[in-house]
């Protein structure tokens, strides 16, 4: 059934179709519509689940983890400050090996506080042991949540997943979503029946135990890594089954016009759509360019990425985040993974754009590709990273700063 809905509603639909038992929550813009929608459905009897507003995201994630450790299927959602507030518990949940699925609606981090998206929030959770699936469209959000439960609850994985999408550009944007039938979803995603973590009177179990022996600590934490590696294989199986049942591909690395590409943009999340449009424009100008979108970020799909970047002259990575003192996080991740690969792109360039939701225009994408070509063709020294910041941005900033300091002393 096709419906027009926001990204947030698509997320709520994902949880509803997964027939989750428990939704601990705490509101934060731009995630609120997800929990509002779910609470409404529960109150109207459309969904059978406990909806529990906690005192904070830290508690929210704790309750999510402990409920999952009891045997319930759990969904929760947060964003930016909330994700950081819950940070300690991210590592706990992966250590408990509980298959919670959490949505993160990306939003730039304070200070200064802002509402619009970038990816510093979600990328900070990179090392926590949560799987990460990043979405470009509302459809992908719904699909990814179903896929996430299926993978998380697989015995070979048993790890929590974050499904990520951009605030505003996706959370509040309505587009067409094909909502699968519940019966079909049930066939794809059977009831969760844990065998390793549960709380019940007939079988006492100690969970979340301290491990003071360092060999054993290494073992358990490394098992989380092993489970992540398994998740790569499981993802492949699940995406095939999903595609067969629902007719939608949901590849870990998606490519766009890459067949004969010599250059490529590499991106994640909703601005990939804008990147695709820029690719078309550049193609019209006879630039052989394509786009690579990372959908699965943890586990990192290295092999797929090697395949898709093989022999490129240049790869321009657009990072909507900044690690001060280093640059773009995805640039670091991709370059390090490709370093030992014979057929790696000749040049990998790094651009920071879209911080705090700032637009990335076609010209900026083209600038990135042109710069990459120049570095490749003229062997010029590479500057890393380059901030995509326009004359217009500079002017706006100046005007506002002037106001902040008393008066329109325009020096220009």
């Amino acid at each position: 059934m096709k419906k027009l809905m926001t990204g947030n509603e698509a997320a709520a639909w994902g949880a509803r179709l997964a027939e989750v038992d428990y939704i601990p929550n705490f509101p934060i813009t731009p995630q609120t519509e997800i929990i509002e929608t779910l609470s409404k459905w529960i109150r109207e009897g459309e969904m059978k689940a406990v909806f529990r507003t906690m005192d904070s995201e830290h508690s929210m994630l704790t309750a999510a983890g402990s409920a999952s450790a009891t045997g319930a299927r759990v969904f929760t959602a947060t964003s930016s400050q909330g994700l950081l507030y819950a940070f300690e518990m991210l590592y706990n949940l992966s250590g408990w090996r509980v298959p919670v699925v959490m949505v993160n609606v990306s939003r730039g981090l304070s200070a200064p506080i802002t509402l619009e998206p970038d990816h510093n929030d979600i990328l900070s959770a990179r090392d926590s042991g949560f799987l990460q699936i990043h979405c470009e469209t509302a459809q992908e959000i719904l699909d990814s949540i179903l896929v996430a439960y299926k993978i998380s609850e697989d015995k070979r994985v048993m790890l929590p997943t974050i499904v990520n999408f951009d605030g505003f550009y996706l959370s509040f944007t309505r587009e067409i979503v094909d909502v699968p039938k519940l019966e079909d979803v049930r066939k794809f995603l059977p009831e969760y029946k844990p065998t390793h973590t549960f709380f019940k009177a007939s079988k006492p179990l100690a969970q979340g135990t301290p491990v003071l022996n360092s060999s054993l600590y290494s073992y358990f934490r490394y098992q989380v890594h092993r489970a992540m590696e398994n998740a790569l294989d499981v993802y492949k199986e699940v995406k095939e089954e999903f595609n067969k049942k629902f007719g939608r591909p949901i590849d870990e690395v998606e490519t766009y016009m890459m067949d004969d590409a010599e250059y490529a943009l590499l991106m994640t999340n909703s601005f990939s759509t804008k990147g695709k449009k820029a690719v078309i424009k550049m193609r019209e100008k006879k630039i052989n360019v394509g786009l690579i979108k990372l959908r699965l970020f943890r586990p990192f799909p290295t092999k797929e990425l090697m395949k898709q970047t093989r022999g490129l002259k240049g790869l321009a990575i657009i990072d909507q985040n900044i690690s001060p003192g280093k640059g773009g996080v995805i640039y670091s991740e991709v370059s390090s993974e490709l370093y030992n690969y014979e057929e790696k792109p000749k040049v990998i360039t790094s651009f920071i754009g879209g911080l705090g939701g700032k637009n990335i225009s076609e010209t900026e994408f083209e600038f990135a590709i042109n710069y990459t070509r120049k570095v490749y063709e003229e062997r010029t020294t590479l500057r890393v990273p380059i901030l995509l910041f326009t004359e217009e941005d500079k002017k706006t900033s100046k005007t506002l700063i002037d106001i902040a300091h008393g008066g329109e002393k325009n020096e220009a």
Partner: protein
Amino acid sequence: MIKVRFHGRGGQGMKTSSRILGTAAFLSGFFVQDFPIYGAERRGAPVVAFTIISKEPILERGYIFDPNILLISDETLLLDKQTDPTKGMSKESIVFINSNKNEDYFKEKIGAKVIVEDLTKIALEVLGRPILSTLIAGVAAKLVGIEQKYLEEAVKEELEQIGANEEMIRKNILAATIGYNKVQEVKIEQTESLEPEVKVVEVEYNDPEISTPVISFVANSYLKKTGTWRVFKPIIKYQKCKSCRLCYVYCPESAIKWENNFPVIDYENCKGCLICVQECPLKAIEIVREGE
């Protein structure tokens, strides 16, 4: 380089011993490292501390696997398989044991150079409490050949740090010198590092039942047999016991079972806190020093 390893129980002051030795060696002009193993220090529970003394800069971190000198604060620690205090010791190592037994008793069992003194007795006489930190530091300082004046200075410095008053410092300097004079300086054989050679292996994925840190065999902590923590042993004199249940109820460790209307102490697990002795209204529980 001399590597010294201290084994003791929480509350006996082994961390302080290792620091006093460290400070004394530092004052004597050596390169020094000292380090306690921390985290779960509990009164009565086994603890380990280390001091390394060297003429050259020290390229070591963490656990000392091959000590030249081992100081064991009480013999019951030797029974503790988990700590295994003599682990990594070589024939050349010197092992000091605080005990009221004689050296021959341990020589066979340990197979190294053993020195035995009853420091607990001295501690009770000099300090009024079975705290061994300064006595053992004194022994260690002499064994490694540190001058007495540096030992005294170090005792003062370390005890001031932990807030001891003048009287305590004076008594502890006395204790340290008694320990110092109980033993002779030894010639330390310089041995090759014994850190064991290892083989790096693959770690496969295991099913979550195994690879998640959960415990399904509940209430299994009795397997740890914390009876080895005991320095003093409570013994019930049944002819005096009137089955009032107080000892049973107050034992923090569930180490007293209630059987046939009488309390029965589970010595494999009793930690020797002596609450039962203190609380028995009929004084029906007596104390003996462990190993007597």
